[in-house]
Symmetry: C2
Subunit: 226 residues, 2 copies
DNA sequence: CTGAAAACTGTACCGCGAGTACAGGAGGGG
DNA sequence: CCCCTCCTGTACTCGCGGTACAGTTTTCAG
């Protein structure tokens, strides 16, 4: 009962790391059992086939993912009353969390499944779809709260704006992994922060930012060639 | 000589579609030769192994990708003198091109390789890395031209800004594929356009945009809920 | 302490797909 | 005519996914 859960989780740990590096097709069961220190029969006792492993892997990943976002943005909500400031802080916290990952972000299972879809059954594809829709709902809810207080400088659709968060995260992960630059992802999150800030806040910058602006572009900000 | 190239390309066509749907590991050579109408020996005459196929596939994809960006943004450059307006037009053209794809974007091979990296040799990983760096250089060049004329409302690093384009594209593809919503990618490109527009253009909108704004949101655009 | 269920191990096997090794054949160009 | 490109055919190896099933150890409830 308890022991079984533990072994199962150990398999999932090993499998997740392998799958994010090599894809599902590139990850062999034999390799998983070797690293877990289990036999083949032991493996198939826990998962009847690879599809079931993928299912468990994806569900666990999504749950964990949701938990992290819950923590970050509820923490940001505790520190800031204003929905916009709280969201901007949340993005900053997220960016910090991402840049603290020692080897960079390992990759997103949702993207892995997305590029492997035809080999899985509909259940997995639906799970994956629902995960993305959950992100849309989560960030959409936050943007709606912001829009109850602030009006956007440009006309935007809330769902598309919410999707922008997911896009930048997924895309940032691909860039970061491909370039082998762990920081790129965190930087992209901060760029997204600038986007949200510009969209809802008037042009007058906060003193701190104004100073950095001058340092980089010169006082008047005119014609910086580089 | 000529015949060989043709067969080779036919294999690559079939392989590209398959790999984008199922990943490299999920695509069998037997399936490729069946669809191409060639024998196994014939296949291995053209590609000595799967790794070589991947290499050819990726190189062809990247070349094609570059060609498309060249066309779109040089066309936009012909129509608009101003670097910012030209870039904004380019994003619009890109968005239109993407929403015209009948079955949505088939997926990006760079992302596929990124999530499959460990199984390929260093050459492929380097090719992939260079492709992303080429995007950075391409869009970076464009943003530098823009910054020679306009100063950004917020301090931004040019490379990070250029990466934002790649992020939104890669992320948008993942979202579009996962959600099975072909339009999402095109919408995300337009969101990126809004970002660039806000970053470089003063809050006062151009007459043309103001008209469309009015049509959608009403004259003052105040307190827009949703 | 016991007994049954849970959590495995061990062995043996099937079929598929990647990849190898060659031998040979069609067709076109110099 | 011959050689080179572009294949086909056959036959094999090997790793891996998956099955089958019998037996063994561990755990925990009563």
């Amino acid at each position: 009962m308890r022991k079984g859960e533990e072994t199962r989780n150990r398999i999932l740990d090993v499998a997740e790391a392998a799958v994010l590096q090599k894809g599902f097709g590139g990850t062999s069961i034999e390799e998983l059992i070797a690293e877990t220190g289990i036999t083949k029969s032991g493996f198939f006792y826990h998962f009847k086939d690879k599809n079931e492993l993928a299912k468990a892997l994806l569900n666990r990943y999504i749950e964990n993912d949701e938990r992290i976002y819950d923590e970050i943005f509820s923490r940001a909500r505790d520190l800031m009353d204003d929905p916009l400031q709280s969201f901007l802080l949340g993005l900053k916290l997220l960016s910090e969390l991402l840049s603290d990952l020692p080897n960079g972000h390992p990759g997103c299972l949702v993207a892995t499944v997305c590029y492997y879809e035809r080999l899985f059954d509909h259940e997995i594809q639906d799970t994956n779809r629902n995960a993305v829709l959950a992100w849309r709902r989560r960030f959409g809810r936050m943007f709606r709260e912001i829009m109850a207080v602030y009006s956007p400088r440009e006309p935007v659709d809330v769902d598309q704006l919410a999707d922008m968060v997911s896009s930048v995260l997924e895309g940032g992960i691909v860039l970061s992994k491909t370039l082998k630059e762990p920081n790129t992802l965190a930087e992209q999150v901060l760029m997204l922060r600038i986007f949200v800030k510009m969209l809802f806040l008037p042009a007058i910058e906060s003193p701190l930012v104004a100073v950095r602006h001058d340092q980089i572009y010169g006082a008047a900000g005119g014609g910086g060639r580089l």
